[in-house]
């Protein structure tokens, strides 16, 4: 028996978001004239409980079997209304949404008449499509109860610890020899002025010792395959040329190594040995031999480290090691790098003048583990600077460079002023700011405190350039809007609070994962307000600056949230397949095989049937793109929910002027 179609149309006002532009009543009146429409109703908030209940009651009372909701984007509330259908005992896929908010009222708010006409079309098209919809089913697949965290900065460490503490296994992968990230470089953290290492080191050690955390340092992700619940990840562990099992971390090799090169951890401001610990509190506390600069690898001589190592842990024969792991969820915490001011903003003379440094470099010049052992000495002549200028917004909030705010430069700059005046009591600091954005908890107090210092002057103005005269002295003019004066500054040290960019490694990982990035290169969250830790890829979460610039408290908070999202997935232990999979009518299939290579997920196989061959779809592998359906020459292949006979009526309504 052919089921009688009974369509219910529900038009949402979304408060005034839709109703102030679209004439909802007119849409309802129009909808009720469409064939098979049994009910057409409106409601101020269709997504609210009463709104959903209205639909559920109508389904039950009036025997509705197809539902159209005209409201916001299906990307927003399709799951909500599908659940409502389910609660009413209807297959959740017998729903079609008409997006009359994002695609209509919001973008045509100056044209209410045209918007109303468009809303009618969108509703009519949804009705045309939903009439052809069929019930769909999904299948549940087990998820691997293990997570991967990429990036061992404070975000990655926090996320890994949270997952590990909830009882799941987690891999923490870091490309550098030690975990710790950029936070390990900081001397103090604002606004409390906690010693950065003192608060970070215990977390680093805890992560290293946690039974559920597998730490893979000096390792890089090579490839990621699979999807939510079942990712296969290849990781390359670079050789340290030190047997980590034998090494006791005594450091004799580092002492005995006769060669030095610039230290990456100290941003080139100091030297390190060729076999070295990245920094004294490195975790794991195992040295790394820098092959490119090692005399043994270049000339076959030296071998001092091997000679002196009491544990016989030096192993020149170590090879890169490829590790393959299966995980159910991935957290990206790849962090940030600094904007390349040296090449992109030559007017600030960072590079040519040694006395122009970045804020991060000042952290190393202030840190007790830094190249100057905590004495703030300017790089050119190792003298104490007495007159320091700190420039905020270098490269940030700039259409020609980075159009976004770095979100920590202001308060970092204020903290850097504190470093100077607390280390060098007779020093004067000038901060050139555009707007002071001290929005975090306790930041305004900290700003007020530093602002009150006699030794710190705030200039409301940004220099255009920094000049260096023939004897190396720096000078430049800056217009101060506060005093309405053009000031000539002649600092002996300039600190640039440079903008931040995603760590360069993120681009490749995002490409591999097909995880969307914004125009600024940062990861695009699924929803900026409501789903800030999720990405466009199911099972891939984001924590910290990879999503956008943020300070340490926000980074740690987001890491916890990302971990919670991952834990929810692992604890559930299963993932649902997509419903909109490809489907083949084997009676129509000619066995031509065009579809097979079109599928990027190898979900189509050709199987023998009646002496010939026909296509078969493995529903659990299919991700539901529909490429095979478009390629099929005989019409045998289709995509459920997007079948030709469902799409064509929709297209025809939308194309036809009423």
């Amino acid at each position: 028996m052919v089921e009688e179609l009974k369509v219910g149309v529900y038009v949402c006002h979304c408060g005034v978001n839709i109703a102030s532009v679209v004439n909802v009543k007119a849409v309802i009146e129009y909808a009720s004239t469409l064939s098979n429409v049994e009910v057409a109703k409106d409601y101020p908030f269709m997504c609210s409980d009463p709104g959903q209940n209205m639909i559920i009651e109508d389904i039950k009372a009036k025997g509705l079997n197809r539902i159209v909701v005209a409201s916001c984007s299906p990307r927003m509330h399709e799951p909500t209304f599908r659940r409502a259908l389910e609660r009413a005992g209807l297959n959740p896929y017998l729903l079609e949404m008409a997006n009359i908010r994002e695609h209509c009222s919001w973008v045509h708010e100056k044209q209410p008449q045209e918007a109303t006409e468009k809303a009618k079309d969108l509703v009519a098209a949804a009705v045309a499509k939903v009439r052809m919809m069929k019930p769909l089913e999904t299948v549940k697949m087990p998820a691997v109860k293990r997570a991967l965290v990429i990036g061992g900065g404070v975000a990655g460490i926090r996320a890994a610890l949270d997952i590990a503490n909830s009882g799941f296994e987690v891999y923490l992968v870091e490309k550098k020899p030690s975990i710790g990230g950029n936070m390990a470089r900081l001397d103090k953290t604002f606004p409390t002025l906690d010693c950065s290492q003192c608060i970070l080191t215990p977390m680093m050690v805890e992560a290293a010792q946690h039974p559920n955390i597998k730490l893979l340092t000096y390792s890089e992700v090579q490839s990621i395959d699979g999807s939510v619940g079942n990712f296969t990840v290849k990781i390359l562990k670079k050789p340290r040329y030190v047997n980590e099992a034998l090494c006791t971390g005594c450091g004799i090799c580092e002492q005995k190594c006769p060669y030095t090169v610039p230290s990456e951890f100290n941003l080139g401001l100091g030297k390190r040995k060729v076999i070295y610990f990245e920094f004294p509190q490195a975790v794991p506390l195992k040295p790394v031999l820098d092959r490119d600069n090692c005399v043994y690898f270049k000339k076959g001589t030296c071998r001092a480290c091997e000679k002196f190592c009491p544990a016989k842990a030096i192993d020149y024969t170590q090879k890169p090691q490829e590790i393959t792991i299966d995980v159910g969820a991935i957290i990206l915490a790849t962090g940030y790098g600094l904007y390349d001011v040296k090449t992109k903003m030559p007017e600030y003379r960072y590079g040519p003048s040694k006395n122009v440094v970045t804020g991060l470099e000042l952290e190393r010049l202030t840190s007790a583990t830094g190249p100057t052992k905590g004495a703030i000495l300017r790089p050119s002549d190792k003298k104490e600077p007495k007159n320091v200028t700190i420039v905020l917004c270098v490269g940030s909030r700039d259409e020609k460079h980075l159009d976004y705010c770095c979100r920590f430069g202001c308060v970092a700059g204020i903290k850097h002023a504190y470093y100077i005046i607390s280390h060098i009591p007779d020093a004067k600091v000038t901060i050139c700011y555009t707007d002071i954005r001290a929005f975090g908890k306790g930041y305004e107090d900290f700003y007020a405190r530093i602002r009150s210092s006699d030794n710190v002057q705030f200039i409301r103005g940004r220099p255009m350039e920094i000049l260096e005269d023939s004897n190396g002295s720096l000078y430049f003019d800056v217009f101060d809007q506060n005093t309405n004066r053009l000031m000539r500054l002649t600092p002996d040290l300039v600190v640039l609070e440079t903008g931040v960019v995603p760590d360069p490694s993120f681009e490749q990982i995002a490409t591999v994962l097909k995880c969307s990035r914004g125009p600024d290169g940062f990861a695009l969250e699924l929803h900026p307000k409501l789903r800030p830790t999720e990405t466009s890829v199911d099972g891939v979460f984001i924590a910290g600056v990879v999503q956008g610039p943020k300070d340490i408290p926000d980074t740690v908070a987001q890491a916890g949230a990302a971990a919670a999202s991952a834990i929810a997935l692992l604890a559930r232990g299963e993932v649902e397949s997509v419903a909109n999979v490809a489907s083949v009518n084997q009676d129509l299939c000619s066995g031509c095989g065009v579809c097979e290579p079109v599928c990027p997920f190898t979900a189509i196989v050709l199987e023998a049937r009646n002496g010939g061959r026909v296509a078969k779809v493995e529903a659990t592998k299919c991700k539901g793109c529909g490429a095979c359906a478009a390629a099929c020459p005989s019409g045998a292949m289709t995509q459920l929910g997007f079948e030709g006979k469902q799409l064509i009526p929709q297209i025809e309504v939308l194309a036809r002027a009423r």
């Binding site: 045509h108 125009p519 466009s536 359906a629 478009a630 390629a631 997007f642 025809e652 194309a655």
Partner: protein, 155 residues
Amino acid sequence: MASNFEPRIVVFACNWCSYAGMDLAGTSRMLYPANLRVVRLMCSGRLEPEHILYAFKAGADGVLVTGCHPGDCHYISGNYKTRKRIRLLEQLLAQFGLEKERLRLEWISASEGEIFTRVAKEFTEKIRALGPSSLKQEKMFAPLISARAAGGGGD
């Protein structure tokens, strides 16, 4: 007549990039002409050239196909297939006396609400300048579609 002509444009959008980019244009309250009507697909790779012909047949004056930028496809390679199919179809349109400018392919990412807005305005103006599609009343168009000659099997 031309002065009152309001073009009817059908847009095909993939769920992950371009539809999301259009949503962003909405949440950002960017304004564009009300001449566009969007068909949401999971991937632009689902789009059959035939669907575009159905749109023209039913009265569309222009068809805008949107997808993820090359390399960004949620399904790895759907947008490459779309590009090939559209190129093929463009040639066919010209042969049947339909200006190939009536069909446009654009890559719109989830963060490019502004770009979509610009494209929507430009394309609407372009179609307005071209005038109504000559195929609107063309009865002879139907057999063409049923012939499935539009390269539906092309990958």
